[in-house]
Symmetry: C2
Subunit: 356 residues, 2 copies
């Protein structure tokens, strides 16, 4: 088993990564302090993994909350529904929530854990590639608002993240590709060597080689843990993790949450950010081409929806959380392995890349 | 002006107390970092104080969100309504929220500030006695759930608390009495001398002597700042501030939020806690009598609603946030000026005091 620590003083916690962790009592039972846990999952993940998890929790008093699947349900209505069920199930301040599922379940459950009785313990058990490499680590929790993605949330760290690589075996190919967008992101913003390794191992990854997947999850979690430990609340370097997200959130909001997967929108957003970088002459043509090629190789969309022009993008992006004093801030790559936060992306550049 | 500091490391902040602060530009303008603020208030406070505050904010870009008045509106529906208005008004991560009103406005606005884009700055401007002496200080924010008071919330500190004693001139007598319940609470749990001073100054306080009111607000804020600085997240001593609240929340939930004022329910709850203490022989008859007498002198109810018997109280109290591993924890006075957290209040004692 690999263990990576997110160092945040008294809020530090381990990320455990291995095959078979979901069925291991050792992974879970010692962490349920009061002997009571509530598993929050969805209707797709439940038939696949709930029984395995419940067996590992044998002896703990466990209740289950099951939600509908999909980004369109990551909202205040479901937040309210979960808190009502927690109260009906007599959850207390020392009850542990366990988020069993992908990014939607993790973000929503984490936000409930942050707010229920002003904060109760929770454990992330991510079952998708995207949530394993990105959303389950770092304590960003949220729900969407019709006017903007992740607009209502909290920084709230889990007490541990337990990643069972085996769960990727049941992941639909489209979800796998969406997760790869966030994987490629780490290469672009932080680690040129990892980017090159991804280029060399596309087929092994698409074949779901456990060894390759484990390395990918581990490397992404290492990078994320390092960045989050330096900048938990995103006052600086952490913002780089939002590469592709400003454009991507606009696509998700415009298309209706759940129609484009989050990772698909981020993949396309990274292509737009790379094109902006090229227009600004911050990256070479060959870097631009490598980025677009790798995103394409994992079967991710590289073109925004046909009707989404400059005006439509701007309408959504003005609500972005990175807006400060009216200026939109973009994450733009400056090389493979490096990126910056900038508000200096001129309107004519945005018009060029968004209206083409 | 008196300034009391809540010491919480990088989250430390001042509480400024004086007459006339609401019309002082110095109180506000330096604190609005981005030059944009949104005032959240209610339909009762707005006609009284909004114009004064807006004049003090001259030169700052200000929007206003106005909510209906009353505890029954401290819920997720209003939370959603406020966040929607913030988005429509293009609030960003550096917009400052200003809570202008009583405890409901402060708790709700604080919770919105905690969650909007995962946290934006906010300033408490409490205009009722209860919010000045208690709810505006210490960073407890929340909304109610039909199954329990303050069940959804966050610990989120304001960047300052600005208390203008003059606002108490327009406070209805019933609201003044409700605030006095929280004032008396500090005497019972922490400061016997202050309790005796209150006994000696009932009439001056009921006459709203500014000098007496200023002393009361200042002393209560000092005690609260001291306790919160020691125990921000309520792992220990801070729980004492909940004297009367376990019984009180049950009354508020049972009667429907807003029918009993929060302070009224707390006053009655303190009487019940004192009776339990007397039954357990933890306080003398004379201490019990002094507590009940002072609560009565400020025109607060000392008897629970007629129909609320042991069974009804227990039904509500099992949802209390102080429940741990199934046991309800009570705050019980052990003398005037001292209290403890305990789960050792036997059922027959509860039956005696609740069924009488």
């Amino acid at each position: 088993m690999s263990t990576i620590r997110v160092e945040l003083g008294e809020r530090s916690y381990p990320i455990n990564i291995d095959t078979g962790l979901l069925s291991s009592q050792d992974s879970f039972k010692a962490q349920i302090k009061s002997g009571k846990a509530i598993v929050v999952t969805n209707e797709v993940v439940k038939p696949l993994y709930l029984d395995t998890l419940l067996a590992a929790l044998d002896g703990v008093e466990v209740n289950v909350v099951c939600l509908p699947d999909g980004e369109q349900h990551k909202n205040l209505t479901q937040f309210d529904a979960v808190t009502t069920q927690l109260l009906e199930q007599h959850a207390a301040r020392d009850t542990t929530l366990i988020a069993l599922g992908g990014g939607v379940i993790g973000d929503l459950t984490g936000f409930v854990a942050a707010c229920f009785q002003r904060g109760i313990p929770f454990i992330q058990v991510p079952t998708t590639l995207l949530s394993q490499v990105d959303s389950s680590v770092g304590g960003k929790t949220a729900v969407n608002h019709p006017l903007g993605k992740n607009m209502i949330g909290a920084f709230y760290q889990p007490q541990s993240v337990i990643i069972d690589i085996d769960t990727l075996k049941t992941l639909p190919p489209r979800e796998f590709a969406a997760g790869m967008a966030e994987v490629i992101k780490y290469g672009i913003i932080y680690d040129a060597e990892f980017f090159a390794w991804l280029e060399d191992n596309v087929q092994e990854l698409k074949d779901l080689s456990p060894e390759h997947l484990k390395y990918v999850v581990q490397r992404c979690c290492e990078i994320k843990a390092e960045i989050v430990s330096k900048d938990e609340k995103e006052h600086g370097i952490r913002a780089l993790l939002n590469l592709g997200h400003t454009f991507g959130h606009a696509i998700e909001a415009e298309q209706g949450y759940g129609n484009w997967l989050h990772g698909e929108a981020v993949g396309c957003g990274m292509v737009l950010a790379a094109k902006a970088a090229y227009e600004k002459e911050w990256i070479s043509k060959s870097d631009l081409d490598r980025m677009i090629a790798l995103i394409k190789l994992f079967d991710l969309p590289v073109d925004a929806p046909e009707h989404m022009n400059y005006d439509i993008f701007m309408q959504h992006m003005q609500h972005d959380k990175k807006v400060l004093s009216g200026a939109i801030r973009f994450i733009i790559p400056t090389a493979i392995g490096e990126a910056v936060v900038t508000k200096d992306v001129e309107h004519h550049i945005l018009q060029n890349i968004l209206n083409s």
